[in-house]
């Protein structure tokens, strides 16, 4: 019988296997790089219905986070301000500025302003803001330098692994309680954060849950 397959097909299997290996590695690498939250979510900066600038309100005007996010110290949910909160000032300040048209319309019609949600914890996980801000974790640890953002974007990946990282080593993020809402606070240097953190962890009996039951109900 003549040879059914030409000679060059002898190398084909190994070439196919090698190709598949390379392709799967590339696919995994691409997936790992591009399709995980660290790439997908970080930098998410959707267009909001109102061009609200945290930089103007917090850094320039010196407003405290809690003026608008009023329930962050008592509730699980850190609320976005109601239209009434905005209008507290904006009935008098910039009262005809076209950038605030959506807010004024909301105030008139009673329809809420539809802010686009940037930081989304999935429905099956439960995060509580009050227990973090009351125990020495600042807004900046999870939300980035919001006080300098003109348009808010997601700075941290907020994956479960990222959360656990801090839960296992809370000293990396603990700060004196009166500095929680001072987003510009920096410890002396890297060494100092650890020192401060460990001291506070000891003093305040910081014991974050590391078990699934802490967040998954």
């Amino acid at each position: 019988m003549a040879n059914i397959f030409p000679r060059w097909t002898n190398h084909l299997p190994i070439k196919i296997v090698f190709c598949l290996l390379v392709l799967s590695c590339a696919a995994s690498a691409a997936y790992w790089y591009y399709l995980t939250p660290e790439y997908m979510r970080v930098g998410y900066q959707p267009v909001q219905p109102v061009p609200f600038s945290h930089d103007i309100h917090v850094t320039q005007l010196g407003m405290d986070c809690r003026y608008c996010h009023s329930y962050v110290e008592i509730s699980s949910h850190s609320n976005v301000p109601t239209t009434q909160t905005c209008m507290n000032c904006h009935t008098q300040i910039q009262s005809t500025n076209p950038k605030l048209e959506a807010v004024r319309e909301s105030w008139q019609t009673g329809q809420p302003v539809n802010w686009v949600k940037i930081h989304q914890v999935p429905d099956f996980a439960y995060f509580n803001h009050s227990v973090h801000v009351n125990r020495g974790i600042s807004c900046v640890s999870c939300h980035g330098q919001v006080n300098h953002m003109d348009v808010v974007f997601q700075q941290e990946s907020q994956t479960m692994g990222w959360c656990l990282n801090c839960h296992r080593h809370p000293e990396n993020n603990l700060r004196p309680i009166n500095q929680v809402f001072n987003l510009d606070w920096k410890p002396g240097n890297q060494e100092s954060q650890q020192q401060i953190g460990l001291e506070l962890k000891e003093k305040w009996n910081i014991d974050p849950p590391q078990n699934c039951s802490g967040c998954h109900r």
Partner: protein, 1072 residues
């Protein structure tokens, strides 16, 4: 590597292309010209400083919104929509609690409602009210679902067409004019029974203004007969309330005071005397005489099966014995006046029972079911008088009420054409009226009927107007608790569909201010303080008015009316036999009188005794079934009182012979999706002279196995495993730790585990104790858990496949000694025990080791934790669970249509639930149903395992609150007994106790040290965190059959138990 995604900046240096010198020069004129050049949408862009950059960004954003571009790979956009006007007291994410109460015919149930963002999601009892311990009945727990019932009435309907609220106002104005003119002639109101001071005040005002109008009340499960007897023997405006805490001996003659006739107080007080935390010295004793097993019968120490039609004769026999022992003149006269029907009873039983009653004179009590004829109540009241019960175990209270006429009077008045205009408030007379009145026809004959109803039902169809009623969670009102405490009804939310409450409508008719003003006015009569406003605020905040319970009446038992009352007794019915069968119409444990037919939770809840879901059935005893040649599931036709009904049959242990019971409340024909086509309508057989039972029924088989009855537990035994352990008080005294040496626990030495123990080093260690001695099996815990944890209903077909989703269930077992030649029917006279079963949170959990993806883990504080998002649905954990408490989501019951069926399509799929369409079924929860869901608990989807979590959300909330409170201080310890699970909070008998077993002060720690505490299946070395307190019964050694009481633990050898052997005469088979 993190890349911050931004649109690239405009390149302003380097090579540029220009079309004109202006562009090159970049003059302002050019810029403005550029702007005007932009196409559609230019209006949006007429903002300062718009540039190509902004335009691109906006266009890019809108493309992103359309799903094109990189955002297509991202999660879909979500929005945060805050309120426009800030709402006072509302903190998103935090619950606000308000007190209120649930109206009921015997009085209100005090409640605390948990509301999230203005919507009530869960109801609890109000422990601040003196007569409550914070428990509720299952109707109160389920009523929150009724608020969000998609089948509730949403519009005003006139003559079958939608009308508006304004049109109804116009109509009401014309009614008011007519009333003024005619002083109310021809006008009548038919109401449900309620104990509401404001309603009474309005009715009095109405009667004052329109003296010719008629006021009628109808309660299908009414206690008019009882009230008649009380009025005759004590006087008007008197009510009797049993004091179960004072009673040592209680005899219940078909009085289901722990079941359908329960109040939170009756269960609480009974449980206080039932609980054995010492040596059982002051444990009470309960005798029950009934025709079918009831919750009360399950708690009884001695139970006698007796046909309902024979219970009056039984009462007379018992009275005879009591009269003989006490030499009470009045009682002797009573007994002499009544004739003996000749029915044979167990004479020894009656004699010893009477002796026990008399021995504890002043601390004993005889109770009779509400719906027996008035003369029997007279006999029982005379008996209580002879036993010195009045003033000690039976309190005589002064209860002023507005006098209303009965339904019988309404029927007579309607027939006499005296009613021109009838307002019906609540109830459902067309469905629930006695069949011989033929009320449906009569109502149609009335010229104008206005029906105020919660849903469009049988009574609404023939009415001119249907006015949507507001739920009690949406209205202002008030109630009095059964002991008289004045309770508010506060609205949690504005009426969702613009409904009116009874008080609203009455206020409009009577011309009085409604809403909160009306309640404030009534509160003035209860207020005893000088500062009204602060008293009013406190009243609403704590949920009751102080010192407002009924006062003891200054009247004595007056036997003079007895002879006349007893004359109303007809000739006694003969004994039941195969030719003379009786049928009894008890209220249903879940649907009550039919009002909850569209409540999915209650339909799916297994009946506490029969464990039937989504159905009712005729219960009968095994002997009766044999005589009539019937089996489970047979379809029969019952004929009684000249009426016929087809219904399914079920053999029920412990049922009296030649007696049938068919619960009321089913077979409704105008009802929402949930209640459609369910069960058999017992009201069709019930006539006005047989409100509770009817004799002379005939039974004919229509179809063998003609109806599929779906039960969650159709086996009655523990299959040889000693799950429920019980003993008598004497055995307990002899061997307090008897429960620890029953069955396998007596033989197997302590085990050593091959697996390493998970580290249990948290400061709190959670555990639970279930007291089988006080658990009555009412299943309030099951509904509470369902409300708290977003547990869906699955529908009858799925329950048939064993897929019901209840995280806690109440297992019901029967126990009987084998029969001997003297007592061949012993197995028909079993005892009943209830055992609530939920995840035991085993320290060495068999489920944790077999999960391939580690979706179920153990937490450091002792909980077996279930992580829903990790679960892939292998179901190995459920396979390994020895208690079968893990529930699997076979379909997304919360998000897919459970009640809808496939109309047409693939053969073999027609008629099945739409769930079987899988991904092709419509997705999404009804907007109204979403509102009930607890936001603190995940809503699970298909393919995921779930189970009791020891209310992890409550534990975490407590831990978080403590940490927030601690702030920078280190004290993270939770206050003792501060966390209550939903089941614990709902239980009126306080049978479930949860807490920190590491804290020696907590109640659960103390209960775990009791000698009768035991683990289930301890020999498996799973080390359950939930333990049980064994059942202890208190039999009277002189009673026949006393040796058989406390019998349930038969081990695999067939002997009684391994503990201290009992004397020969006490072994089973002995007939004392």
């Amino acid at each position: 590597m993190k890349t911050v995604f931004r649109h690239p900046p405009e390149d302003l240096t380097g090579k540029r292309y220009w079309r004109s010198l202006e562009e090159l020069a970049d003059t302002p004129e050019f810029r403005s010209w550029l702007q005007r050049e932009f196409p559609a949408g230019a209006a949006d862009l007429e903002l300062d400083g718009v540039s190509r950059r902004n335009f691109l960004r906006l266009m890019g954003a809108s493309m992103a919104l359309a799903g094109i571009g990189l955002s297509g790979c991202r999660r879909p956009e979500a929005y945060i929509a805050p309120y426009t006007k800030s709402v006072e007291w509302l903190v998103p994410g935090k619950a606000v609690l308000y007190t209120t109460s649930m109206p009921g015919p015997k009085g209100g149930v005090p409640l605390i409602a948990t509301t999230f963002e203005g919507r009530p999601t869960k109801l609890e009892g109000n422990p601040l009210v003196p007569s409550s311990n914070g428990g509720t009945d299952l109707f109160a727990q389920a009523s929150v679902l009724d608020l969000y019932d998609p089948g509730r009435a949403r519009t005003f309907i006139r003559d079958g067409e939608e009308a508006g609220a304004q049109q109804f106002d116009v109509y009401l104005a014309s009614v008011a004019k007519d009333l003024e003119a005619g002083k109310g002639a021809g006008f009548a109101i038919l109401m449900e029974e309620q104990v509401s001071p404001t309603r009474d005040r309005f009715l009095r005002k109405l009667k004052e203004r329109f003296p010719e109008s008629g006021l009628y009340t109808y309660n299908p499960l009414g206690f008019e007969e009882h009230d008649l007897a009380v009025a005759a023997l004590f006087g008007p405006d008197i009510a009797l309330r049993a004091d179960f805490e004072a009673a040592d001996i209680i005899v219940s003659l078909d009085s289901d005071f722990l079941g359908i006739e329960q109040t939170v107080q009756s269960v609480r007080d009974f449980s206080r005397r039932r609980r054995v935390h010492g040596l059982g010295q002051d444990m009470n004793r309960l005798y029950a005489v009934e025709n079918r097993y009831t919750i009360t019968g399950g708690m009884a120490d001695h139970r006698l099966r007796c046909a309902a039609s024979q219970i009056p004769a039984f009462a007379v026999k018992l009275a005879k014995e009591v009269a003989a022992s006490t030499n009470d003149r009045v009682l002797n006269a009573v007994v002499a006046q009544l004739k003996d029907g000749g029915t044979p009873f167990d004479e020894v039983w009656i004699k010893e029972c009477a002796a026990d009653l008399v021995a504890r004179k002043g601390k004993s009590l005889v109770l009779l079911g509400d719906r027996f004829p008035a003369w029997v109540h007279g006999v029982v009241l005379a008996m209580n008088n002879a036993l010195g019960a009045f003033g000690s175990t039976l309190r005589v209270l002064s209860v002023p009420r507005v006098k209303t006429s009965s339904f019988r009077d309404l029927v007579a008045d309607t027939k006499a054409r005296a009613i021109k205009r009838l307002f019906i408030f609540g109830g459902n007379p067309v469905y629930a009226a006695p069949a011989d009145f033929e009320w449906g026809e009569l109502q149609r004959a009335i010229p104008e009927v206005v029906r105020l109803g919660y849903s469009f039902d049988e009574t609404s169809s023939p009415s001119k107007w249907h006015v949507p009623e507001a739920h009690y969670l949406e209205s202002w009102g008030d109630q009095r608790a059964p002991d008289g405490t004045y309770l508010p009804i506060q609205p949690m939310i504005l009426p969702l569909f613009g409904g009116l409450s009874q008080l609203d409508l009455l206020a409009k008719l009577a011309g009085l201010p409604a809403d909160v003003e009306a309640i404030r006015e009534t509160f003035k009569t209860f207020n005893q303080e000088s500062d009204f406003e602060s008293a009013w605020t406190r009243f609403l905040r704590q949920g009751f008015a102080e010192s407002s319970s009924y006062q003891a009446a200054k009247v004595e038992f007056n036997p003079n009316a007895l002879p006349d009352l007893l004359k109303t007794a007809g000739p006694p019915p003969g004994p039941v036999s195969p030719g003379a069968i009786e049928i009894v119409f008890p209220a249903d444990y879940k649907i009550y009188d039919g009002r909850y037919a569209n409540n999915g939770w209650l339909q799916e809840l297994p009946d506490p005794i029969t464990k039937i879901t989504w159905d009712n059935a005729i219960s009968l005893s095994k002997s009766t079934a044999k005589a009539l040649q019937l089996e489970d599931g047979d379809l029969v036709e019952i004929g009684v009182n000249g009426r016929k009904l087809q219904a399914a049959v079920m053999i029920a242990p412990g049922h009296a012979d030649y007696s049938l019971s068919l619960p009321l409340g089913y077979g409704r024909w105008v009802v929402g999706k949930v209640g459609q086509g369910i069960g058999f309508n017992a009201y069709a057989l019930r006539t006005s002279d047989s409100p509770y039972f009817a004799t002379g029924a005939t039974v004919n088989l229509v179809q063998k196995n003609g109806h599929r009855l779906v039960q969650t537990q159709n086996h009655y035994s523990m299959e040889g495993r000693a799950l429920v352990r019980e003993a008598t008080v004497d055995e307990f005294k002899r061997n307090p730790a008897f429960a620890k040496t029953v069955w396998m626990d007596a033989e197997i030495p302590p085990n050593v585990s091959l697996y390493s123990h998970p580290p249990l080093n948290a400061p709190n260690q959670w555990g639970m104790v279930v007291d089988l001695n006080t658990c009555i099996g009412c299943a309030a815990c099951v509904i509470a858990c369902q409300a708290e944890n977003n547990i869906p209903i699955v529908g009858k077909d799925q329950v048939d496949r064993g897929r019901e989703m209840h995280w806690i269930r109440v297992d019901r077992y029967f126990a009987s000694a084998g029969g001997d030649k003297n007592n061949p029917h012993l197995e028909e006279d079993p005892e009943m025990v209830m055992e609530p079963m939920m995840c035991q949170h085993c320290e060495n959990a068999p489920c944790e080791t077999v999960c391939p993806v580690n979706a179920t883990v153990h937490s450091e504080d002792g909980l077996n934790v279930m992580v829903y998002n990790r679960c892939i649905g292998t179901r190995y954990c459920s396979n390994n669970c020895p208690f079968k408490v893990r529930r699997f989501n076979f379909f997304s019951y919360n998000d897919r249509p459970v009640m809808d069926r496939i109309e047409k399509g693939l053969p073999g799929f027609q008629g099945k639930q739409q769930l079987y369409l899988g991904p092709l079924a419509p997705w999404g929860m009804d907007e109204l149903s979403k509102m009930q869901k607890n936001p603190n608990v995940s809503v699970r989807i298909r393919g995921v395992m779930e189970k009791c979590t020891y209310c992890l959300q409550r534990i975490e909330t407590a831990k978080v609150s403590q940490r927030v409170k601690a702030g920078v201080k280190g004290d993270l310890s939770l206050p003792t007994d501060s966390v209550k699970t939903a089941c614990q909070q709902a239980c009126p008998a306080e049978a479930i106790i949860f807490g920190d077993i590491k804290d020696p002060k907590s109640r659960v720690s103390q209960l775990r040290t009791l000698p009768q505490n035991y683990h289930l299946l301890e020999y498996l070395n799973i080390q359950t965190r939930t333990t049980y307190l064994a059942r202890i019964r208190n039999p009277n050694p002189k009673m026949p059959g006393a040796a058989r009481v406390g019998n349930i633990n038969v081990d695999e050898h067939g002997d009684q138990r391994h503990s201290a052997p009992r004397a020969e005469s006490e072994m089973d088979g002995g007939n004392a």
